[in-house]
Amino acid sequence: MQFWVVQGLNSLALGGLLFLLASGFSLIFGLMRLANLTHGAMFMLGAYIGAGLMRSVDGVSLWVAAIAGGLGVALFGWVLERFILRRLPDNPLGQVLVTLGVAFIIADACLLIWGGDPIPIPAPSYLARPLFVGGFAFPAYRLVVVLIALAAAAGLYVMIERTRLGAMIRAGVDDMQMARAVGIPVSRLFSIVFCLGAGIAGAGGVLAGPILSAYPGLDADMLPLALIVVILGGIGSLMGAFVGSFIIGIIYTFGTALLPDLAYIILFLPMIVVIAFRPQGLFGHVSA
């Protein structure tokens, strides 16, 4: 029983981290029609910025590091969008290839700066010990990660569904030319959404630190999971990213625990089922 409880919480925590990664990816894809393959690398860059900050400066808490990682990666995203991606309008393939190239550059730069050994990121000491509820031990930090992901989901939901900015984003997703025609500054929206997506991924990387730590290859481990989440949930759908993240979190965690050799094949199955019967994803409107 303890096994199921702990693994259940682990899968929720992984689902929460995946949501922080996939929600930005999905929003960027939905608005800009841009498959941002740097997203995994941004997650890793955030983790390294956080880890580096906490290691070199005494007394920096995880939360400060997460904010710094998020801001740092958002700034990076701004530069990438402003100076490179903007030069390639109407060339989705070129944009994908550029983001792939930049992902290689980031990954190698991280290796160059921080070395090949994993850097652990400690959880705050008051969250490091397990929480005992009803005879079961819960790792407290993972609970907090789930709560943060839920809060992020709620925040994004309110932003998209209830604010003026969100209304403009939705208009841009549905019909960009019409949105432009009625005076919505679509290109500024692109910058905002790209920075926002990058920032959430960067902060998510730091928050993932106490669970996964920062290591070379973190990007390659996370990106496919995020891709599968987005394929599963539907491109451009926040709800899809949310549901997809927790589905994949659960499948991957239990797959790894029960059938460690074949966890990756098990990941495949929901993807195949969804693509076969609903190619636009569970909650998607546009087919890819």
Binding site: F29, R33, A35, L37, I84, R87, L88, N91, P92, L93, G94, V96, L97, V98, L100, G101, V102, A103, F104, I105, A107, D108, A109, L112, A220, L223, P224, L227, I228, V230, I231, I235, P260, D261, L262, A263, Y264, I265, L267, F268, M271, I272, I275, A276, P279, S287, A288
Partner: protein, 311 residues
């Protein structure tokens, strides 16, 4: 004229082992293998307009099947080769069924996800793949009693297979079927209206392309006598895609030029700098920004312009 040039080119390739040392022979072998692989990817990317970021799935699958059946099951080389080709082709048919539910960026993402799943499997399914250690101990078979262990004999075999591969892929691209494939790339809706089964054309191309990637995988694994999960990484897929795009997608010579450049660069650059991935990333960004349609079409345009200036 063109045929004469091509024969001279092939003759030039054939005498490489007579005039150079093992280092350059091996480099040439690597270029040929990369060229076969890039040509197979080009059928999808260049002629079909289907940008796959997971093409190494087929190279890796066929290499792993060959290495695994040879070293762990001890089957004869011919059986291992046959199994690799058949299973990989079947798998490409299945993967094609999944990936071709989408086109464009969706296709790219699904192919990437598929190859990443196989990459993860190669690392984690250690009881079959030996995980991070890879599968070693593969020996090259002998052909009609001739040993393939020397660099030059393996090079010649690779050259013969590459020429076959080139001719058969060129025939595919230039056939009526190839024209209809290009039609689905440029005007899918009109092709549909004309009564072509666009999906079927793409699927057949996917399978054919997967088959030649499997051939490249066999050459790869017999050349290295070793296979490691990194052969299935995104980087490997991206390198092949870069070879196609840098050389010129949708041309027959482009992927060969691109593959040659890439292998050269990788061998030379890695002796100077350790940062191959970073260099690869920069090349990607620069090619897309500065030379979006590739080297071969760029040079062709230059020649046309010079001829135009003369007349």
């Amino acid at each position: 004229m063109n045929k004469v040039l091509m024969l001279l080119f092939v003759a030039g390739l054939a005498i490489i082992p007579l005039v150079s040392g093992d280092f350059y022979i091996n480099l040439a072998t690597q270029i040929l293998i990369a060229a076969v692989f890039a040509l197979s990817l080009n059928l999808l990317v260049g002629y079909g307009g289907l940008t796959s970021l997971g093409h190494v799935a087929f190279l890796g699958l066929s290499a792993y099947i060959c290495a695994w059946t040879s070293t762990k099951l001890g089957v004869a080389p011919l059986v291992a080769i046959g199994l690799s080709l058949v299973i990989t082709t079947i798998m490409s048919a299945l993967f094609g069924l999944i990936a071709l539910r989408a086109t464009g960026l969706g296709f790219l993402m699904i192919t990437l996800a598929i190859s990443q799943v196989l990459w993860g499997l190669a690392y984690r399914w250690a009881s079959v793949t030996n995980g991070d250690n890879g599968i070693s101990g593969l020996t090259r078979p002998s052909l009609f009693g001739l040993s393939l262990d020397s660099a030059s004999s393996f090079y010649w075999l690779t050259l013969i297979i590459s020429i076959f591969a080139f001719i058969l892929m060129a025939a595919f691209a230039m056939s009526a079927f190839g024209s209809s494939l290009q039609g689905t790339r440029d005007q899918a809706r009109r092709m549909r209206a004309l009564g072509y089964n666009v999906w079927l054309i793409r699927w057949i191309t996917f399978i054919y392309s997967g088959f030649w990637a499997a051939v490249a995988g066999l050459l790869y694994v017999y050349y290295n006598k070793y296979i490691h999960p990194s052969a299935l990484s995104v980087t490997a897929s991206a390198e092949a895609l870069l070879a196609v795009i840098a050389g010129g997608a949708g041309t027959l010579g482009g992927p060969i030029v691109g593959a040659a450049l890439l292998v050269f660069l990788k061998n030379y650059a890695s002796s100077f700098v350790e940062r191959w991935n970073m260099l690869l990333g920069f090349i990607f960004v620069l090619i897309v920004l500065l030379m979006p349609d590739g080297i071969v079409p760029g040079v062709q345009r230059l020649i046309r312009r010079m001829r135009g200036a003369q007349s």
